[in-house]
């Protein structure tokens, strides 16, 4: 059980670390893009939304880090 927990902890630190928003963000961005495609959005619109949401995810993460540094 201890090894299993350590194994899980390793992968959590490796993929997520202290930036949960950068793990969940891309998953959410791709989910939104998938929904747009399913609802019939063109490649241009879905692609532009995906591009914009990736930037928003990065900006949000930077804002969180900067805000945490201020506290």
């Amino acid at each position: 059980m201890r090894y299993l927990r350590a194994f899980g902890r390793f992968w959590w630190d490796f993929l997520v670390g202290d930036r949960l928003e950068l793990f969940l963000g891309p998953i959410a961005v791709l989910a939104v893009a998938a929904l747009l495609v399913r609802w019939g959005a063109s490649g241009l619109v879905a692609g532009a939304v995906l591009f914009g949401l990736v930037i928003v995810t990065g900006a949000l993460s930077l804002a969180l880090v900067v805000a945490a540094g201020r506290r």
Binding site: F14, L15, G17, R19, L22, F23, G25, P26, I27, V29, L30, A33, A34, V37, R38, S42, G43, L44, A46, G47, L50, F51, V54, I55, T57, G58, A59, S61, L62, V65, V66, G69, R70
Partner: protein, 251 residues
């Protein structure tokens, strides 16, 4: 630029950054304790990484449908790409300390010097373990990147070749110089690699969810330029925010 060249370049740059970091640990163990055990440990880690890339890369290419592969790889590349990119932005803006290989090397040497003495003959397992762990942990992210790029573009060989070339170059330079490669512009490299990973991640992830990019492969270049502009803007914004706070603190 052909997809082969881009794949090799991405793996090479990402690997170079990670292996510069691994080299610091290897040098500290080799110089402070015993070279033979250290090099065996580092070699064993490189071999482990090569097996991981070979087994998982081949399995992914053979058994996972390309659409699903692109979605998974796109998601992983976006996660890693944004992690690298935001870290590089914070460092470039001065909001986070840059990695100092010299200082890290000194800390590693001090820690290793406090360990039990090197045995008179045979393997020094402390050197072996430190080198193995250092190279494996730094190289694991590279393995993920190589597998991602290689499997999705069906260029596993060139991707592995790029990583191997970086490993040989960095390790040879370090062992010859006998000091950490403090002059390598690590943050600049991380910035470029972060941009490449994010752009390819967005492109392949988009294809994976069914986006039909209007300009085909050329879209990657557009995404790269777009993310680069946004990132440079972010550096300025974060840096100016720090400047404003400094001025307010001085007032």
């Amino acid at each position: 630029m052909s997809i082969v060249l881009v794949t090799v370049l991405s793996s090479f740059l990402a690997s170079a950054v990670e292996f510069v970091e691994a080299l610091t640990v290897v040098l500290a163990a080799g110089i402070t304790r015993q070279w033979r055990s250290t090099l065996i440990g580092a070699g064993a880690a490189v071999l482990t990484l090569a097996v991981l890339i070979g087994v998982f890369g081949t399995a992914l290419v053979r058994f996972v449908p390309i659409e699903l592969l692109r979605l998974l790889v796109g998601c992983v590349l976006l996660i890693f790409g944004l992690q690298w990119l935001t870290k590089a932005i914070l460092r470039a803006a001065g909001a986070r300390a840059r990695r100092d290989e010299g200082a890290l090397y000194a800390a590693d040497v001090a820690e290793l010097a406090a360990d039990p003495p090197v045995p008179g003959s045979g393997m020094d397992w402390i050197s072996f373990t430190v080198a193995f762990k250092g190279v494996l942990l730094e190289g694991l992210e590279v393995a993920f990147i190589v597998i991602s790029f290689g499997s999705t573009s069906r260029q596993l060989g060139p991707a592995a070749l790029g990583a191997a070339a970086a490993a040989v170059l960095v390790m040879t330079a370090g062992v010859l110089l006998r000091r950490p490669l403090a002059r390598v512009p690590e943050n600049g490299l991380k910035f470029v690699v972060g941009l490449m990973l994010t752009s390819f991640g967005a492109y392949w992830g988009g294809e994976g969810v069914g986006i039909d990019w209007p300009t085909g492969d050329l879209t990657i270049l557009g995404l790269l330029i777009g993310f680069a502009v946004a990132s440079l803007l972010a550096v300025r914004l974060v840096a100016s925010g720090r400047g404003v706070r400094r001025a307010a603190g001085a007032a």
